[in-house]
């Protein structure tokens, strides 16, 4: 565990030492803030539903951007070999990098906390702001982000090229996000399975304010499979 955390700390610091964190997080905050607040006063409802509706779509783009360089760059610059010669298990390297990326997404979400705070402050007299769905929405976003990060990490491990890592990650995340939107045009037997595979479907359940073990289990599974695949790919590289 200590080793994992050491890797995580190193990666987390390097995010904020390079411009990556500021560009990715800044882009995310600008887009989500603009899209959310441009409709907030028109709708007139003190709810974060708008933000939770668009944050997953933004994650499809921004999460692979966070993960793209994590393994690909180390492979390209040759530091991966160095890392792998250290007395570390592959899974420790993978988990460390994953935790660092999750930490960075966490910082991004932390920076959006002024949204619910200001909306709660603007709630009409007599009505009260419901924090339950908001807290659950953030929990849901973190779960969703972790599954996307695991997928993105695998995509980054597949190639030496960051751009390839980004595009593969983007396509995969896009697939897992939109899979249930295609369900209507597919045979019934498949549509139920596709709905279950959709990260957005499970997120919508959580963002209502209900934490269902089935939804959590799904995200844990997707994250586990993603991290497993990354570890597997990394052992191939080691070979």
């Amino acid at each position: 565990m200590g080793m994992t955390l050491a890797v995580a700390r190193r990666e987390f610091k390097s995010f904020f030492n390079s411009p990556v964190a500021y560009i990715v997080l800044g882009g995310f905050l600008l887009t989500s803030g603009w899209l959310y607040f441009s409709t907030l006063f028109v709708a007139g409802q003190a709810s974060l539903r708008g933000f939770f509706g668009l944050a997953p779509v933004l994650f499809v783009v921004f999460v692979p951007a966070v993960t793209m360089r994590l393994i690909a760059e180390e492979r390209k610059s040759g530091t991966l070999e160095l890392l792998l010669t250290m007395p570390l298990h592959d899974w420790q390297v993978v988990t460390g990098k994953f935790l660092a990326a999750l930490g960075m997404v966490g910082v991004g979400l932390l920076l959006t906390l002024p949204y619910p705070l200001s909306v709660a402050a603007l709630t009409a007299e007599g009505a009260s702001f419901d924090w339950g769905p908001v807290v659950m929405g953030y929990v849901g976003l973190l779960l969703m982000a972790s599954s996307f990060l695991a997928i993105g990490l695998w995509a980054s491990a597949l190639s030496r090229n960051q751009i390839v890592g980004f595009i593969v990650g983007l396509v995969l995340c896009f697939g897992f996000y939109f899979i249930d939107k295609f369900a209507v045009v597919l045979p019934q037997t498949l549509s139920e399975l596709l709905q279950y595979l959709s990260v957005d479907y499970h997120f919508e359940n959580i963002a209502r304010g209900v934490l269902d073990s089935r939804d959590v289990l799904f995200y844990v599974t997707l994250t586990g499979v993603g991290l497993g695949l990354t570890t597997r790919t990394l052992s191939n590289v080691r070979q």
């Binding site: 803030g33 603007l122 497993g228 597997r232």
Partner: protein, 542 residues
Amino acid sequence: MRKNTLNATVLLLGITGSLILLNILGLRAFTRLDFTRDKAYTLSEASRKAMEELEDPVTVTAYFTDKLPPPYSSNARYVRDLLEEYRAASKGKLSFEFLDPMTQETDADKEAKRETKRDIFGRSFREPTSVERELAQEGVQPVEVRVVEDDQVQTKRAYMGIILKHQEKKEVIPVVADTQTLEYDFTTLVRKLTRPKTPVIGVLQGHGEPGLQEKLRRLQQLLSQLYEVRPVELGEGERVDAAVDALLVIGPKTALKPNELKAIDQFLMGGKSAAFFLDAIQVDPRNFEPSDAEHGLGPLLATYGVKLGDQLVADARSGQLSMQEQRGFMVIDVPVPYPFIPLLAQLEGDSPVSKGIGGVLLPFTTQVTLQPPEGVQGTVLAKSSKTSWLESKPFNINPRRDWREENPTVGGPYPLIVQVSGKLKSHFAEEASTSAPVPVLAESQGEPRVIVAGGSSALWDDFMGSANQAFLLNVADWLLLDSGLLNMRARGYAGAPLDKDLTDGTRNAVKYGNVLGIPFLLTAFGLVRWRMREARRARVTV
């Protein structure tokens, strides 16, 4: 090295396999934690109580076509979860089964489904199968859903209905269209099925009140789902029919006779409840012709601690009227704000009647103030906004009235609907000592509940939007002591609106502060960090 890869592969397969298995198992055994404030997705106290009170078995059959496409498939999941919770709460008294009507089809039905015919317009149709006929007889309606079969989008008849049975009685939810109100509907139906007697709501008639078949059709329709609604004429009698459990007095235009006032007073003293929707004027919403209303109920209500005003409340936060305007050669409908229809963003008070309800329209209403005597609790249920004012007689309610030159003295908020409950004193207490043929009760038995509103048009068909409907149902439930149901109904309506009186400055500050301020702070943090690192690096090289 090779061993390492093999190990990783085995590990990966093992983890993936067991996780998938866990997911499949998780579909059957799961738990849910509800974090919403009103526990909107958990079985409410009222439902739980209704289930605990069940004495005889209730059987539920949910007819759901298998493998419905989204979004219907999540409805099925929701219904199954909900019924599961009901069954647990009822300790086995309620049992349910999920049936796919297609599995009940006979060979002849399958044959009938294959034989499609075409009508003269080329539209295909087929004879209904025996299952479909049977379900139609039971009251379960099919819905058309689009599905893809054999690479073609087709419409298919699907079922999403529920039948509840208790002893000889039966209730049906033909289509589960909205899962948000499903729990309320379901619990209401179970209570309706299992209660020994249907409560009776009497609606006072005989003083120019709008008739149940005239302006109050929607009211009657809504209340009849749960209660028996019947007109009550008092005539010469001094008592309201004993079968009536709660009384509604909606917009009388002519004065009630002394014996009628006494009948209403004694009805309340008997411990039963009533709601009064009283007008100072009545207005025909078609031509805006006002007519006076002199019901003479003021002194009676004053005894209970409620005082009726005689000035109309006008509010800048109001509903709109559609007015026809000439624009060149065209006559178009233009919505114009109409201050005599106050729009209440949110009802007030810590009462189950008003909790969570917003958007109620209260046309042509006077203010109603509370002066409750000792031992009586009074609550204001609805207030006009801060931007409201009072208009005196003669009322100028012309929708084309030009407000641009007027500067009314804004003095709101004014209370518009109030409730009182507790030990009430009779208006005819003095007569109690005299030996009248029918003894007069000087004080109420039990704790009657009284609701008084400064206008009656809110209950007319013309203004019966969803918020007014919810309010009406809450009033009826409260009068008849069904407060558990009230809380459950409020859950669906409890949206929290933003403050409407925000200045542009505040809005822009919030908007740009969040949109630009946060990224700016992040960038500033990055720059400071970078400068510090550079400075440190410079020191090291020196």
